[in-house]
Structures are given as structure tokens and as C-alpha cells.
């Protein structure tokens, strides 16, 4: 493997190509080699698009040689979570249900990556239909944490986080419904952002919970993230919930790294939470000092309804999921049971296909959601959860009345061992304790490497900003990374 190719920096790869020191083909080849070399151990991918990637790279090199203007991600290998539709690759959501599904169209995010001349190297593994926090709920095997293969990379965007952490690609696109970008970023020692709901088009993002889902960038550092976010953001008419607001200059924001005068609220409910691991708490407190030393003012903030976040989330998300996943019925596409039982009637075809095609966690959530939306339970569960959601959003609105950013942990604990929580759904759901708030409130939030455990596992810190203040998150992250080196640590190969 060619270690002289800096697959951990998109900015550097752009510079080297512009300088004529590297070609897109060389980069793609190195990226694909490293992916293949660790696929057996890490299992970050559900599909590796070697031929297409090389073909794209050849085309980019040719166009560069011809003096053509190239896109902002020209020749950069990018991995895409297997929840985003791609017309030239399978799109499975890591589910047996969609094992053979090939969408006839590209998700908007994918379209925009292609338009930016990114080299799509493949589709990354995930928890089935993005339901999970460990990538153990994949129908195609677990993904392992590159820092320690006995540990989970987090989830549901576990493959997308692991492939960056393993040094295969500098950039990946994940999706975040309750923490699915930020938690795996924290577990894998990289940077990940969930943008404001509506900033990145959801067209072609296979829905888990439509009012919470948002695609976002994953990378080592703020500058690389800004490049990717810039490429995929923006209004689009095909998604009714897309925001018709101009996109900031994220690249400029990621090069602005002063926090002097910035008002940062420390989320007391999180930092004082009894379930918070001591090493994680220490990392957050250390981050507080870093910001304070640079001239930011730190104030304590409480989010009085944050305790309702996880229960609220675990009503709303399954309700929407139970509806969104109704279309997988075996009638038109996707898995259809071949059992003799299934051929007896329409109903048994539905039942057998869905029983055999979905994994346990997906079925669990469909049942929870179906129950909560049923006559007689709707008011007590779904409607009540919507009210709680408004209160949670109100907490953030109140906090942002007097601070610019909110600081806290990403996860209660660092990465846990594979198998540790898979049989205890409640413990698994509690991984989302500090991340669901941003989804319920529609806010942007970023996970930044903030330290390591004594066993060498990464720890993340999290910043929240008001809606559409992604630039503020990028500037703060860029500052933090200019004075710390947590994001420069790499797993040993």
C-alpha cells in the first residue's frame, strides 16, 4: 500500500492533484486497495465500486489534462452510506429486504457529489434501515472499529465512520436521525456533522424517520468537512422540507478559527448526568478550558426537558418508520418470500416477506410505531411525543437567546464492545441520550475528537448551534482543532 498518498486529507489531495504530484487514478487505486485490504476485518462496505471509481478517476485526470474546469471535490474518494440511492450501485440499507434493489435514480446528495467530481468508491455498511447504534443490525455482517476490532464503530453510520478512521477515504456521507453521524464519529475519533433539518435534500435518502433524517459529512477535520458540506447542501424543489435559504461559505468559515467573544453554553444536564462516563466528562471539561483560554465566555445552560429526549424520540421515530417501511411488502420490488406459505394468499405473502426480509430491530420498531399510531393510543403516545418535541425545541430556543453555541458530550460512554448491548435494546437506545435533541429540534450539531480513553479509544465532544449556523460550528471546530491534536491521532494499522 502506498502510504505516501494522504488519504486522510481531502484538502491535501486537492493540492497535490493541482500541483501535478498525484493523479485521481493513483488516489482512487490507493483508496480501493486499502478498502479491500481491510474489508475482511473492518467490513465497512456493503458494495465496493472499484470499476466505476477508476473510470471516474480516469475521466477526471483526462479533463484536468485538457484544462477543463473541475468540481470542488475532483478526484477525492468519497464513501456513501448505503441508505442513499445510487443508480449505478445497489442500495440495500443493509437489509435483506433490499439486497437486490438497484434504484433507477441518484439521491440528490449523490447527484451533487458526482457534479463536484467526487470519486464514489462504494456504499458503506450501516444498521439496517439506519436503526441502531452499533452497526451490528446489518444483514451483511458487523462493522468493526478500526481503533480496536473488538469494539463497535457506533451506528448507524458505522461503516461511513470506520472507513474514514481506517484511512480509506478522507470523506464520507452519513445520515443522522438520532445521532447516527455524531455517535460513530465520536467512537471512531473523527469529525461528523448533522446539518440543520432541511439544509441537505432528503430526496433519495431512504427514509427511516422523515422528520428527523438528515444527511451530513464525516471527515477528520473541519476544513475537509466544510468542502463536503458545501458540495451537498442547498435548496431543492424535490424535497418539500428542504430550506430555501442561501448556503453559507462553509470553506471560509472553516478557515476562520477565533472564538474570542463567543458565548458558549455548557449543557449542565449532560455534564452532570449520572450515566456519563468519567473519561468522557473529563474530555468535555478539558474542552471547556480550551475555549475559555481562547477568550470564549462559558456559561452554564440547562435544557429542562432534555430528559424526555430519548422517550420522545423512541415514539416519533418508530411511528414514522412503521409508515415509511410499509412499502417493503414484496409486491413491487425488494425481497419476496419463496416459502410455500407465502404463495397461499396475499396476506401470507406480505407476512412471510416482511418477517423474512426485516431484521429483529426493524421489526421491533415497526411494532412500536404501529402500536403508538393505533386508534386509542395515538393521543397518549404520538401526540404527546409531538408536544414534548415542541418543549424540547423550546429549551434550545431559550438557550440560544443568550449563548451562541452549546457544548456537551456526544455519547454517555466511549465505544463499547461488539455484542455488549445487542441483546438489551434499552441500553442501546440510551446511547442516543445526548444526540437526539438536535434531531428533535432540527438543529445543526457537530461531533469533534476531544480525547482518548486510557485504553486508547476515541472520545468525542459535541457542539450545537441555532438553525442554519453550520458556519459557527465549523469555525469553532476549526479553532479547537488548531489548538488540539485529538483529530490527528490515527489508529495503528
Amino acid at each position: 500500500m502506498d502510504y505516501s498518498i494522504p488519504l486522510d486529507s481531502a484538502c491535501e489531495l486537492l493540492r497535490l492533484q493541482a500541483a501535478g504530484e498525484l493523479t485521481a487514478v493513483q488516489i482512487a487505486t490507493a483508496s480501493l486497495e486499502s478498502i479491500r485490504a481491510s474489508q475482511d476485518t473492518i467490513n465497512a462496505y456493503t458494495h465496493i465500486a472499484a470499476e466505476n471509481a477508476i473510470a471516474t478517476a480516469i475521466d477526471i485526470d483526462r479533463r484536468r489534462a485538457a484544462g477543463e474546469k473541475l468540481g470542488s471535490l475532483a478526484g477525492i474518494p468519497v464513501a456513501v452510506k448505503d441508505v442513499l440511492c445510487t443508480r449505478d450501485m445497489p442500495t440495500t440499507c443493509s437489509s435483506k429486504m433490499l439486497e437486490s434493489f438497484r434504484p433507477p435514480y441518484d439521491a440528490t446528495v449523490v447527484e451533487r457529489l458526482r457534479a463536484a467530481d467526487a470519486v464514489l468508491v462504494g456504499k458503506t455498511n450501516m444498521d439496517e434501515f439506519a436503526m441502531g447504534a452499533s452497526t451490528e443490525n446489518s444483514a451483511f455482517g458487523v462493522t468493526r472499529n478500526p481503533w480496536n476490532c473488538d469494539y463497535t464503530p457506533g451506528g448507524s453510520s458505522g461503516g461511513a465512520a470506520a472507513t474514514v478512521a481506517a484511512g480509506h477515504v478522507p470523506l464520507s456521507v452519513g445520515t443522522d436521525t438520532g445521532g447516527s453521524i455524531r455517535q460513530p464519529a465520536a467512537f471512531c475519533g473523527i469529525t461528523g456533522m448533522k446539518p440543520t433539518y432541511g439544509r441537505v435534500s432528503r430526496y433519495g435518502l431512504i427514509a427511516f424517520a422523515s422528520s428527523l433524517d438528515q444527511a451530513g459529512p464525516m471527515a477528520w477535520n473541519a476544513q475537509d468537512m466544510a468542502l463536503l458540506l458545501q458540495a451537498i447542501s442547498g435548496y431543492e424543489t424535490r424535497d418539500s422540507t428542504s430550506l430555501d435559504v442561501p448556503v453559507d461559505d462553509y470553506v471560509a468559515a472553516s478557515n476562520h478559527n477565533s472564538v474570542r467573544g463567543l458565548r458558549i453554553g455548557l449543557i449542565r444536564d449532560a455534564i452532570d448526568h449520572e450515566g456519563l462516563d468519567d473519561e468522557v466528562r473529563r474530555s468535555v471539561k478539558a474542552a471547556v478550558e480550551v475555549f475559555r483560554d481562547a477568550g470564549a465566555s462559558i456559561v452554564d445552560v440547562t435544557l429542562p426537558h432534555s430528559g424526555y429526549g430519548v422517550p420522545t424520540y423512541y415514539v416519533i421515530a418508530p411511528c414514522e418508520a412503521s409508515s415509511n417501511l410499509s412499502r417493503y411488502d414484496g409486491a413491487h420490488y425488494g425481497y419476496r418470500s419463496r416459502s410455500s406459505e407465502a404463495s397461499k394468499s396475499l396476506l401470507s405473502m406480505y407476512c412471510r416477506s416482511r418477517d423474512e426480509g426485516f431484521g429483529a430491530e426493524v421489526k421491533r420498531r415497526i411494532m412500536i410505531g404501529t402500536y403508538a399510531l393505533s386508534t386509542g393510543y395515538y393521543d397518549a403516545y404520538y401526540l404527546k411525543a409531538l408536544k414534548a418535541r415542541r418543549l424540547i425545541r423550546g429549551d434550545y430556543d431559550a438557550a440560544f437567546g443568550h449563548v451562541d453555541l452549546l457544548l456537551g458530550p456526544v455519547t454517555p460512554t466511549p465505544a463499547f464492545r461488539l455484542g455488549e448491548k445487542i441483546d438489551d435494546p434499552i441500553q442501546m437506545y440510551l446511547c442516543d441520550l445526548f444526540t437526539v435533541g438536535a434531531n428533535l429540534a432540527g438543529l445543526p450539531a457537530i461531533s469533534i475528537p476531544g480525547g482518548q480513553t486510557q485504553h486508547g479509544l476515541p472520545i468525542g465532544i459535541q457542539l450545537h448551534a441555532p438553525p442554519l449556523h453550520e458556519s459557527a460550528l465549523l469555525s469553532a471546530a476549526a479553532f479547537f482543532q488548531s489548538v488540539t491534536d485529538h483529530h490527528r491521532k490515527r489508529p495503528s494499522r
Partner: protein
């Protein structure tokens, strides 16, 4: 059949209707696929209406406008905020596993439509409109029972076509009233240009909720409600209700089942066998688990938009009817026939009436000569060969007595097949005014040569003069029969 045996008890039939109207949009409700009828199966589809993973709906604004227009014409209130909900059930013609519809905030609520009483056109009855909401249509399942393999095919072209579901109060008391309501509603919808109402293409489909309120020993007993689904002709609706009334009465006599001890059931209508039959339910339970569709925004309808739509409504059929009656002095029946023909016929009539200065004559000609010709030649009024101005000109001459009805019909017939003005037709047919002296001479000859008829007339058999008028017309086709008659009478009396 109960019609042939005396009824033990009096009863009242209670009918409420749900009418699914396909709105006249170029594209579907949530995607840009066209809604043209009759395309090859599964050719008017895209990822959105196929419900492919990741595809998202985007609302068609035109459908909203048409729904508001309809709602205002039905005197509904239009709420400032409305929204989309998912109605969830599994069926192969519903590829998303849910239908995007409107549950608790329909775009139109609480209106009415006044309908002319079928038995008596001097009175009308009012049908309350509970609500009208927008929803997307499902696809079409075709079950090939004959193949022996229970082969089913699905055409998803219709998936996502915009429908307005109009729900009435149970205000109709007979099959005839239900039919009259539907006829008036269809007229209103076509008049508003919100729907083609092409029933054979399924763009207007009707479900009827029917039961009986039976008088038993001074108390009223209601039979269980039956919903007859998916009828696509008014004739079917009428016959299905008539059949259902009989069936429910007999069922009540037999079982005594009432609304209190038997739930609502669903039946279909078999047009060939003229029977309703119990229908297999599409889903196991009726719990649709409605919830707001998170892929779509709530719709805010500012007052200004609703007021603008109200102003653009124009004159509604009921108002036009009244105006034609009072302004042109025509009979309610004639006004009804003209208005039922649509806006083009109304405009045609108004020009003829104004130009001729004789509304009654204009309506009588439209209802007879014009409509008969349209029927014979399969013409629309837009394509009618005689313009409204020409017909008006023609009838003006009749009104002023310069042309008699028979000659006017000759001119009309000529105009149907030749271009040109009335004046040109008259001269082409050689019609000219008859000199008074010539007429006097002709009449003297007739009186002289028909002593028996003259005697009859003088003896009081006035109608006998008809044959002389006939003879006069034969000898000079231009002779005005009225004038001939008057002259003959004068001569006979002298």
C-alpha cells in the same frame, strides 16, 4: 320484491354519498407524471408515484386551487391551515403502503348544494356537505380469474392522480334525489372546470351509504348502514339504491337486525345482475393509523388567496338558471335544460335571446331545433354550424312577423348546410314578402272555389279554415299563414 307485496310498515330511505372527483390537473398530485387516461399500463409513472425508496412527494398547487374553487362553490368554509395525512393499509395497488390524504383538517368543510326536486321543479332540497378533502388515487388491480392461476396484474398509471372526495350529509331520501344531487354536482364541477367528470374513465366515482328508518308501532327503527362502493354511473347509483332499499327491508323483516346490533358493511354493485353483493374488505382492520405526513408541509391558505378564488368563481349554475328565468322570461324547465348543457350553451342562448329580443322563442328553438340537430349530427354547441347571432337574427324576423315559423325552419335548415347570413339564405330560398293585393286575390279565389269549407266555417267549424290556409301555402309558399287566415276570415264574414 316488496313492490309487489303490501308493506307492513312505512319507512324512509336515508342516503349519504361520497363522491370521488378526479381534478383536472395536467400532472399528478405529488409528482410530474401526466394524468392522461388510456395510456399503456405502467407508462405514466416515476419513482415518486411508484413509491420507490427515497422518493419524496411535492404538492401540486393547481390541485389546491381547484379544491378551493369547488369548496367555495359548495358554500364550504376553507380553513386557513390544512395538511396532509397518511392513511395506512396494505394493498398491491398502493405501492407506498399508505395513501396521502387529509384526515382532520380537510381543505373544505361544512357546505351545501341546493338541488331541484326531481318530482317537482318548482321546489328544491338542500344536501349538506360535511367535507371535501384532497387525496391521491391508488392504482388499478386487474384480477384474471379466468386464467385459473388467479393471475393479478397491476397498473400504477392512476397512482397519485388527484382526487377530491366530497362527503355529503345523509340528506337524500330517495334514489331519485340521490341521482338529482349527483347530476347537479356534476354540472357544477364541469361548470367550474375543475373536473371532466368522465364517468366511463372513472373520473367521478360514487359510494352510497344507505339505510332505512322504519316506523314500527310508533317508533323508528334504523337498519344497519350499508356502503355501496365505487359506482361509476348515475344509473348504477339509482338502481343500486333501489335494490338496496328492497334488500334491507326484507333483511330487516327476516332478521330484525338494526343499526344498534350490526356494524356498517360494504357492498359492491353488480350492474349485469342488478344486485348488490357483499364485498371483501381490503384490509383486516379499519384502523388506518392516520398521522400527518412528515414529507409534506402544512398548507397555509391566506384570506387573500381564498377571496381571489371567490371573486374568480363567476356565476354558478343555480344562479344562472334563476337569471335566465327572470331576465328572459323562460320556463324553469327550459332554463334547467339550457344550464345543464354547460356554459357554452348558456352563452349561445343569451346571444340568441338578446339578438331576437324574444327569450321564450329562443329557448324553444334551442330545446327543439338546435338540440335535435346536435343530437342527430353528434355536434357540440361550440361546433354548431349556425351561429348564435344568425339564429337570433332569424328569430327576430319570426317575432316581428316578417317570417313565419315554417319558412324560418327552411332558412334554419339551409343555414345548417350553407355558410352565409340569414339574409342570403332567405334570398337563396326565394323567400320574399307577398304583395297585399296578390294575397287578397289568392284568398278570394280560394273562398270562391271552396263553398263547402266556407259554409263549414260560417257554421262555426273554425278549424276547417286550416285546409284553405294549406292550399294557400301550396300555391304561394311565401304567403304568411297568419295573414292568409286573417284575410280568409274577413272575406268569409263580409
Amino acid at each position: 320484491m316488496i313492490h309487489s307485496t303490501p308493506l307492513k310498515c312505512d319507512f324512509e330511505t336515508v342516503i349519504g354519498l361520497e363522491v370521488h372527483v378526479q381534478l383536472k390537473t395536467r400532472t399528478k398530485l405529488f409528482c410530474r407524471c401526466e394524468t392522461v387516461f388510456g395510456a399503456a399500463p405502467n407508462t405514466q409513472v416515476c419513482p415518486v408515484c411508484l413509491g420507490l425508496p427515497g422518493a419524496l412527494p411535492v404538492m401540486n398547487r393547481r390541485a389546491i386551487e381547484l379544491a378551493i374553487r369547488t369548496g367555495l362553490a359548495l358554500d364550504c368554509s376553507i380553513p386557513p391551515v390544512t395538511k396532509w395525512d397518511r392513511k395506512q393499509y396494505f394493498y398491491p395497488d398502493l405501492p407506498k403502503g399508505y395513501q396521502i390524504s387529509q384526515f382532520d383538517l380537510p381543505i373544505c368543510a361544512d357546505g351545501f348544494l341546493d338541488v331541484i326536486e326531481p318530482e317537482d321543479d318548482s321546489t328544491s332540497f338542500r344536501v349538506g356537505i360535511v367535507r371535501a378533502h384532497l387525496e391521491e388515487d391508488a392504482g388499478k388491480s386487474m384480477h384474471d380469474e379466468a386464467s385459473g392461476r388467479a393471475d393479478s396484474r397491476i397498473d400504477l398509471n392512476r397512482c397519485g392522480t388527484p382526487l377530491l372526495e366530497i362527503v355529503t350529509q345523509p340528506d337524500m331520501r330517495s334514489a331519485a334525489q340521490a341521482k338529482a344531487f349527483l347530476t347537479e354536482l356534476k354540472l357544477l364541477l364541469t361548470h367550474l372546470d375543475v373536473s371532466d367528470c368522465e364517468m366511463q374513465e372513472g373520473s367521478l366515482r360514487v359510494d352510497a351509504n344507505v339505510n332505512l328508518h322504519i316506523d314500527v308501532d310508533g317508533k323508528r327503527v334504523a337498519t344497519p348502514i350499508v356502503e355501496i362502493k365505487n359506482m361509476n354511473s348515475f344509473r348504477a347509483v339509482e338502481r343500486a339504491i333501489l335494490h338496496e332499499v328492497d334488500r334491507q327491508y326484507l333483511a330487516w323483516e327476516e332478521t330484525g337486525a338494526t343499526i344498534d346490533n350490526q356494524p356498517k358493511t360494504t357492498r359492491g354493485w353488480d350492474d349485469a345482475r342488478e344486485k348488490t353483493f357483499p364485498q371483501r374488505e381490503k384490509e383486516l382492520s379499519a384502523d388506518y393509523r392516520y398521522f400527518p405526513d412528515p414529507d409534506l408541509l402544512t398548507i397555509c391558505l391566506p384570506d387573500s388567496q381564498i377571496e381571489a378564488a371567490r371573486e374568480a368563481l363567476g356565476e354558478l349554475p343555480a344562479v344562472v338558471r334563476k337569471r335566465l328565468e327572470t331576465q328572459h322570461g323562460i320556463k324553469p324547465y327550459d332554463a334547467d335544460v339550457i344550464v345543464n348543457q354547460g356554459t357554452a350553451m348558456i352563452a349561445f342562448f343569451e346571444v340568441v335571446a338578446a339578438e331576437s329580443g324574444d327569450g321564450r322563442r329562443a329557448s324553444s328553438w334551442l330545446l327543439q331545433d338546435v338540440m335535435r340537430t346536435m343530437n342527430d349530427r353528434q355536434l357540440t354547441i361550440e361546433a354548431f354550424p349556425v351561429s348564435a347571432m344568425s339564429l337570433g337574427d332569424l328569430l327576430k324576423r319570426v317575432a316581428s312577423g316578417t317570417l313565419d315559423n315554417a319558412r324560418a325552419r327552411d332558412v334554419f335548415a339551409h343555414l345548417l348546410d350553407h355558410s352565409g347570413t340569414v339574409e342570403e339564405a332567405i334570398s337563396a330560398l326565394g323567400i320574399k314578402a307577398v304583395d297585399n293585393n296578390e294575397l287578397e286575390g289568392l284568398c278570394q279565389e280560394l273562398v270562391a272555389s271552396n263553398p263547402q269549407i266556407v259554409a263549414d266555417v260560417r257554421g262555426g267549424k273554425l278549424q276547417a279554415i286550416g285546409s284553405l290556409v294549406g292550399q294557400a301555402k301550396k300555391r304561394n309558399p311565401n304567403a304568411n299563414p297568419q295573414q292568409v287566415r286573417e284575410t280568409l276570415l274577413r272575406l268569409m264574414q263580409s
